[in-house]
């Protein structure tokens, strides 16, 4: 079976499961009837607004990503479906902020205006690297949303917790698809994929964290339930490697940076 056919089959499995088991509606499946019991916690609202901001770079994520993989049916159709599912994430968070009265429409429009002054660009150059990045990023995002779901629950905001739970389930499904494609790539060209696993993990950054207005001020609130290096290794990197059938000992070393004295002209 060709790589293209294998990816197509993986996409059909992903899509069938999404259609039959995972679809949710912003209108019908978010428990908006809990609005009156929302605590209107300013910190939770700031966190939700920050995540909403990251999700609102959707036009850039989709346009950049789909162009990169347009020649592969399974990957291109996945990106289209991914865009639909991600669009609901930003929409649900935006509606949460509006319906609970924690942000006004003019406030959100101004926030969006500031967001769209910047463009997100692809952090890696090849479809293979972006696939690996997608697996890592979506799994990291899943854990972040699960932690913020727990935080919202702890602070009595069952509505926001329910939204995070719906989003987290999508993120895990996306991560698993990228992971399956990485496995197919690994079968095709193991050395290249192992090198890219190291390269992508070394340069990994969460998307748009440098684009959301005032992120430095927001980050403390966002980080409260986020993880550190150890959490990344324990919850993302080691499990990802394990599901690929690899350990850290199977990976090549990063290209060693040249020491100043080793540069061609010897200049420091």
């Amino acid at each position: 079976m060709s790589f293209a056919e294998a990816v197509y089959r993986e996409y059909m499995t992903f899509f069938e499961h999404a259609e039959r088991k995972r679809r949710w509606s912003v209108f019908d499946d978010v428990p908006w009837d809990l609005i009156d019991r929302c605590p209107r916690d300013p910190e939770l609202a700031l966190i939700a607004e920050t995540f909403c901001g990251v999700e609102l770079y959707l036009p850039d994520y989709v346009s950049e990503g789909i162009q990169l993989v347009r020649a592969n049916f399974g990957q291109a159709w996945f990106m289209a479906n991914w865009g639909y599912e991600e669009s609901k994430h930003g929409l649900a968070l935006r509606e949460y902020l509006l319906r609970t009265g924690q942000r006004t429409l003019p406030q959100l429009l101004e926030y969006e205006r500031q967001l769209y002054e910047h463009r997100w660009t692809l952090p890696f150059a090849t479809p293979q690297q972006i696939t690996i990045y997608g697996a890592i990023q979506e799994l990291t995002t899943f854990h972040i949303y699960k932690k913020h779901e727990a935080l919202a629950t702890q602070r009595g905001d069952a509505l926001l917790a329910a939204i995070y739970a719906l989003i987290a389930r999508d993120e895990m499904a996306h991560s698993r698809f990228y992971e399956k494609v990485t496995t197919l790539l690994l079968d095709e060209n193991p050395d290249s994929v192992k090198a890219d696993l190291v390269y992508v993990s070394h340069h990994f950054r969460m998307p748009a964290s440098d684009l959301v207005p005032g992120y430095a001020q927001r980050s403390e609130a966002v980080r409260q339930a986020d993880g550190d290096r150890g959490t990344y290794l324990r919850e993302v990197w080691f499990p990802f490697l394990k599901r690929l059938g690899l350990t850290r000992h199977d990976l090549p070393r990063l290209p060693r940076p040249a020491r100043p004295a080793e540069t061609p002209d010897g200049a420091r």
Binding site: L233, A258, R259
Partner: protein, 82 residues
Amino acid sequence: MSDPDFDILALYREAALEVGNHVLEDLTLDTKLADLTISSVEVLEIVGYIEQRLNIRLNDEDLSRMTCMRDLVRLIETVRTS
């Protein structure tokens, strides 16, 4: 070099230089790994370098729990004496 802690610190310095040209002159047992601005991949390569030199294998779960150099020294000593 009679202090085993010192040996491991020296080995970590050597590995950090080898892996990523990181010069860690002020490294102590209390140095927090997060303060070293070394990526997770590089930390794992440094650990791999040390494992190879000492002919040991450290547990991934334990590695993910270490926060400072003292944790790494304890991990290594535990493996070497077990």
